[in-house]
Point group: C2
């Protein structure tokens, strides 16, 4: 199997284009010097490649198990790797220094997280969920909760989980049954939680000393539906007021799922209160759990898109190495020269270029969206903060859905490049596809993301945020048109993609009935991804051209980026036309069948 | 898991549109009365649903194993099912009555084969490969070979395999090493075969009494490359001149592959001649093995496209049943009516309609191509035979590539409809995707199919066969334009698809350099699939409209077909535009990167 190497050149370019230099200039991020960030990325690359990546295939093969004594066992090496990870301080990168964080921009944390996901997605889900827990507690926790939990979560000593789904309540959280009852007998502000949660990622394990479960449940006086859901923090081991660990709480993993992929990550059926009630504390206001969870989910959704980027990168590297090595057939441009590596064959190259271009576009878009989150928090100008918040809200569902689609698609192409060998599990190409598959489902299926984009992010403000974005995208188009002839050749393709996005948006605004909106949601989201990913590729091409002209950087790396951007424009951007037509086709033929004709 | 039911209504419609009534009217197929065919399909549906489908998930779970004594064990129930299959006469359907076949049109055999593939693809690979062996022997075998082997293969008593691939020779058969040396010491016309073959599907098993391996190898005087490859028939057990089974031949499975899917099918590393040489006989002329193999492959390629159809149908049925049952969320068109099954949600419907429309289009195209094979053999008019042969040659790579892409894509959507449950192996949705994945790789990867289409089927005759096809496709367009307003609404979408196919073909003919041709091959093939599959959907819509007007048939079934055709036109046909642009973008950006930049 090909060793993984963090794609530091492209990551640094994406960070630059996302605006990290401007962020780093803010007083809040004074520590984020270019040297420090370079060192962080370099070290993360080493940790990912050296510690996490080698555990990826063995972890897939071994899987997790639930011992008869109720202990969840993760694959060999995972516990030790986690200890090294915590020891090296990787968990604390972007968090509040008041609670032990390193206070770096979130986008740096995102870049580093890409490395963990690429190296070992199943393992890296554990710190990913902890990140979401930290976000939710940081925003919605009481001072006491923050003081008690944040330092341990930020240090990585403790881990976090998200407990939303119940068997009858997947996409439909309104159908939640889990209960929370005030337990003044146990102490002030305590609740007894009872019920079952399914598909809980890293619901139990022995990597961290404690696990903080963020659990959605209903209070006795809860109104029905989503307006009656509250968020609770339920630790695996009770935490004494002085922070020491107490007794085992009444929560346990009762079974593990047998899944298509991410075998190294225990997916648990969790039972709360089998022996009377798990003890928890309320996070945020009563009945406001969904809003609190959304804080966590916004972050988690971006990170799931990022998983797509990571897996895509890993799959690309493996396929490219295979294509450079595998001798098969002759060079069609020069058949007499004898047999060549398959990287010379145009059809293999189409797959490799597609993998590369999509991965880079999704990376750039994800980093850009992550940097907008930083701007929204840290920019001294409230107007810039607000604009960044609008931009981030708009892009998060796109990053999640499009990034995870790309992770899967690229991993799938990786199998194809390997030919018959790709279908053999030992090759490892298939694992990437199996692992990547879940990202299109969890943290809200991609259909849910699409409805979020259309309903909450486009229609609710009547297209204002999209228009604001389109304005920025059109500025890049104008720059392309004015660019030297090589770059300008991409302008028509890119311009068409912008027109398609605008036309599809206009259509949505003019046909905002709920059925039409939901019918259009998926093709609109894919169109949005291709166009905004293309925007990032065009921005990169302009910047790379400038660097080439200035003699700034490795020419081969810069030329490769230009070639990839051209391919994106030529071969991938045209997808927007088909998506636009699927949007504007409306819902008539989609809804024509009677339910029982299916 | 949802029980599988053969989609007899749509199969019958596809058979009608493929021209089965005309075929059945030929003297050669006098036995193929409508009643007989109806009974065959009905019974096949029962066998598939009752015997094969229940073994599908357990077979995936159990897998195959190689016992220490060298015996390959298939999953429990597979041997018994095979015996019942042979007993019922299913293997002999389309074959020559002179050798015990039932002499039915090949397209009927194809329809029935769809059922086996849908019910249990891993198991059904065994008779599928036997079919290819029968085809090759029927065309290229000596009278003696035919007399000795065909009756047992046609009865299913013996099975067949295809042995092409070696570890250094996958897509590149010119690199084959396996050797065949004349062995006059053993008998006239006998050869000793030595070497290894990899990825041999059903390379060994205990289902049939004997296995006839069709093996590509080089004779001592063979010229290098593909012009020095010969085809040999190497039986697992030697066959005495009177047809009785003799000693074990020197061929064995030395290991089994651990694969992403089709776990119920043993994929073997085969060793020939470990003890001196496996004994075989030459099939066809020396050094003409590739041509002989292509006879077998043409049939096998169509059948692999058919596997895509079968898996797609199975995945669709499972997803549709889940969507009708799973209560989640409210009806967006009527939120106050309470919670509904997810089949009401537009985004779920988009997936279901996509699954359904693609499956039906691929089925119709596959049956159509299969019927062209029958016409090419049986039509009394040599001109019609020749036209059908051109048509079949043109469509086989499209059926293989596009059908297998659809099998995978539809199975993937099936997972998505299940949400989190889809990722759990016990649900069975993931197995369909894992199984379907191989069809895009074997029998020539889809990239190889695309190059076959562009190089041999489009450029070689300078577009003559495509133009002939486009003429027929345009006639359907004219009929649509003249049709009542409901149908005519599809004409513009379909017309655009035809224009795209024509323009892409023209571009290929004008840019026929080998690099451009190979660079364009994959998007051209996908465009070809969408357009010709769309053609079949439009033909079906016209026929169904006629039946509705005539009160001929179940109105719900017919209306569902119309709705599906409309959806295909609205939502799926527009993909041709993006594929056309990818074709006409040429190879510049595709080939721009230096090999070592990847």
């Amino acid at each position: 199997m090909t060793p993984y190497a963090a794609p530091l050149d492209d990551m640094r370019l994406a960070l630059d284009l996302a605006g990290l230099p401007d962020l780093a200039a803010l007083p809040r991020f004074a520590d984020a010097t270019p040297d420090l960030i370079a060192a962080v990325l370099e070290e993360a690359g080493k940790f990912g490649a050296g510690v996490l990546a080698p555990l990826n295939a063995p972890g897939d093969h071994e899987g997790c198990r639930l011992d008869p004594d109720g202990t969840v066992r993760v694959p060999e090496g995972a516990v030790e790797a986690y200890a090294q990870f915590v020891e090296a301080g990787w968990t604390s990168l972007p968090f509040d220094p008041d609670y032990g964080g390193q206070g770096l921009p979130g986008v740096v944390g995102v870049a580093v997280t890409e490395i963990w996901q690429a190296a070992n997605m199943a393992w890296a889900l554990c710190p990913l969920l902890t990140t979401g827990t930290i976000e939710a507690l940081s925003v919605h926790g009481t001072d006491e909760q923050k003081a008690l939990y944040l330092p341990k979560l930020i240090s990585g000593e403790w881990a976090g989980t998200m407990n939303l789904t119940e068997s009858q309540a997947g996409s439909d959280l309104a159908a939640l049954h889990c209960k929370a009852e005030p337990a003044p007998d146990l102490g002030e502000g305590l609740y007894r939680i009872t019920g079952q949660k399914v598909f809980i990622t890293h619901g139990d394990h022995e990597m961290a000393a404690n696990i903080c479960h963020m659990v959605l449940a209903r209070l006795p006086d809860a109104p029905p539906g989503v307006k009656g859901i509250s968020l609770f923090l339920v630790p695996k081991l009770l935490v004494e007021p002085d922070g020491t660990l107490g007794a085992r709480n009444d929560v346990k993993a009762v079974s593990l799922e047998h899944k298509l992929g991410i075998h190294g990550s225990p997916t648990c059926l969790m039972a709360y209160g089998d022996e009377g009630g798990a003890i928890g504390t309320l996070v945020g206001a009563p009945h406001q759990g969904l809003a609190c969870m959304f804080t966590m989910m916004n972050n988690a959704r971006l990170n799931v898109g990022l998983q797509g980027v990571g897996i895509a990168e890993r799959a690309y590297q493996q396929a490219a190495a295979f294509a450079r090595d595998r001798i098969q057939g002759v060079d069609v441009a020069n058949p007499k020269a004898g047999r060549v590596a398959i990287v010379r064959h145009p059809d293999i190259r189409r797959m490799l270029m597609t993998m590369r271009a999509k991965t880079e576009a999704a990376r750039a878009l994800t980093y850009y969206a992550a940097a907008q989150m930083d701007v929204a928090k840290a920019d001294p100008d409230p107007a810039q903060q607000a604009k960044a918040r609008r931009r981030q809200d708009l892009l998060v569902p796109v990053v999640k859905a499009w990034g995870s689609e790309i992770g899967f698609e690229v991993a799938d192409l990786g199998i194809q490049i390997h030919g018959g060998t790709g279908y053999i599990e030992e090759t490892g190409a298939a694992q990437h596809m199996r692992d990547a598959r879940i990202a299109r489902i969890y943290e809200g299926t991609n259909g849910i993301q699409a409805m979020d984009l259309v309903g909450r992010k486009v229609l609710r403000d009547q297209g204002a945020a999209v228009r604001e974005l389109l304005e920025d995208m059109r500025a890049t188009h104008a720059a392309l048109v004015d660019a030297p002839v090589g770059l300008a050749a991409m302008a028509p393709h890119y311009g068409t993609a912008l027109d398609d996005l605008e036309a599809a948006t206009d259509w949505l605004l003019a046909h905002d009935g709920p059925v039409e909106a939901q019918a259009a949601a998926t093709p609109y989201t894919l169109l949005f991804g291709v166009a905004t990913g293309g925007w990032q590729m065009m921005r990169a091409a302009l910047e790379v051209r400038r660097r080439l002209d200035a003699g700034d950087g490795n020419p081969a790396v810069l030329q490769a980026k230009l070639a990839t951007a051209h391919f994106y424009a030529d071969a991938l951007m045209p997808a927007t036309g088909a998506h636009r037509l699927a949007v504007t086709a409306g819902s008539d033929s989609l809804m024509a069948m009677a339910d029982d004709w299916f």
